[in-house]
Amino acid sequence: MYPDDFYYTKDHEWIQVKGDKATVGITDFAQKQLGDVVYVELPEVGKKLEFHQSMGVVESVKAVSDVYSPVSGEVLEVNKGLNDSPELVNQDPHGKGWFIRLKVKDEAELEKLMSASEYEEFIEGIEE
């Protein structure tokens, strides 16, 4: 369910790093909690995000939730597909439903995040 090569945050974002570039989205657990996603607000390309800075907002029919940047970095690209098809966040949260691509500033910050198995344990604790 949760890819081994991703890192995870307590706010239910995931980040996949390749070299100094990374892709960020929200987890399957997060999309299930939110329910039908109808609108995603993403940052401007070029924006410099701090560790755990709010980078956008995801709105479902039921609720609105902030999305935080898992690490510091510069926004290289945002997923324009979410404008017309926000439901991709529900359908494929770890794939086509990605939010942004980042240029990672400090790889050491990744150590503050959870691995797949740690995250699975973390959400099990929430579900109980």
Partner: protein
């Protein structure tokens, strides 16, 4: 599941949008047993109901229910409700879950001088609602009542699975449909039977999430959001249910006065012109000045846009008037639109 005024209730089963569209296109079954039921009986039951509510309860028969409310002397809402006539001297008020204790106390406090009995039966009744264009076909063979001939707001007694029920052609979704009340100790039999029979028609169980989006598209009031003890019936656009000619009732003087003087604000429907979702309590700005808050707001699954209700000063209530809703750090453009947002029969 969420805690809703002491009831454990599902927000969604298959998803709010799925359930919402099922009700618009096929049928949905709701367990709304959280609603409160108060019975007023006795020689002066009708007089008392007439005094408590602004609609004309004299028009009720055991085959006809009505939408009304409990009014304060100021013409504001203690609650909104459905009134059923169970017999010549017996009336059932179906009230909001969150208000049933308050309503009961309110009714008791005005009982002096009336020969009536008041009972709070909220914990005894189960209430189910079957809503949607296929509701009639699903329920018809299950009950010994001629549902086809029942008009909107019609009601009658019958049996489903051997259990006695009160059924009415009412609901909170803007669709055709029925509400079923029972004192049965095995109400789950009725729930299961309807779901089983409705399977081939596409019936789905529906949670609180879609109940709210459905009622808002149909501009049906939610107590606590759109109406409360600070808003009058005329401001809410419910003047049509106030029957001034019927005799004395609580709030009559205040409502008459307001009718003559004119209201200063009016509940209007709006949609966002720009992206975003307007939600309850978001600030509303007219010409840059904060004038009110969003009372109800959601993403409309049927219309696929952000809709809501808010009280605007009357000079801005006209259809097409533009204003702004504060969403986080932005002001997003909105426009007054006709309501209900959704009317059944408009789809192809």
């Amino acid at each position: 599941m969420i805690e809703f005024f002491g009831w454990e209730m599902p927000v969604e089963f298959s998803g709010v949008i799925d359930e919402h569209l099922a009700v618009r296109q096929k049928a949905g079954l709701f367990d709304v047993s959280h609603m409160g039921e108060i019975i007023i009986s006795g020689r002066q039951a009708l007089d008392f109901v007439q005094y408590l509510t602004p609609n004309d309860a004299a028009r009720l028969t055991p085959e006809k229910a009505q939408y009304s409310c409990l009014t304060t002397p100021q013409g504001t809402f203690v609650d909104d409700l459905l009134v059923y006539c169970l017999g010549p001297e017996k009336y059932l008020l179906v009230v909001n879950c969150s208000n049933s204790d308050k309503d009961y106390e309110w009714i008791l406090s005005h009982k002096k001088g009336f020969e009536v009995e008041v009972e709070n039966k909220s914990d005894d009744y189960t209430q189910l609602a079957l809503q949607g264009p296929r509701a009639l076909e699903i329920l018809k063979p299950l009950i010994d009542v001629n549902l086809e001939e029942m008009k909107a707001f019609g009601s009658n007694w019958g049996e489903i699975e051997g259990e006695e029920v009160l059924v009415s052609r009412t609901g909170y979704t803007g669709e055709d449909g029925f509400e079923v009340y029972t004192l049965s100790i095995r109400p789950e039999k009725i729930w299961d039977t309807i779901l089983e029979r409705g399977k081939e028609f596409g019936v789905v169980p529906v949670g609180l999430g879609a109940r709210d989006t459905l009622r808002l598209e149909a501009r049906l009031m939610l107590y606590g959001n759109d109406i409360d003890e600070t808003t009058t019936l005329l401001e809410a656009g419910l003047g049509w249910l106030v029957k001034f000619e019927k005799g004395e009732f609580l709030g009559k003087g205040a409502l008459l006065k307001q009718k003559e003087e004119g209201i200063k604000r009016r509940l209007v429907g709006f949609e966002l012109i720009e992206k975003g979702i307007a939600r309850q309590h978001y600030p509303v700005f007219v010409e840059g000045k904060k004038v009110s808050e969003v009372d109800s707001g959601t993403f409309s699954p049927y219309l696929k846009k952000s809709i809501g209700l808010t009280y605007l000063p009357v000079e801005y209530k006209e259809i097409g008037t533009e204003f702004e809703v504060g969403i986080r750090d932005k002001k997003v453009k909105a426009r007054v639109v006709p309501t209900p947002f959704y009317k059944r029969g408009e789809k192809g």
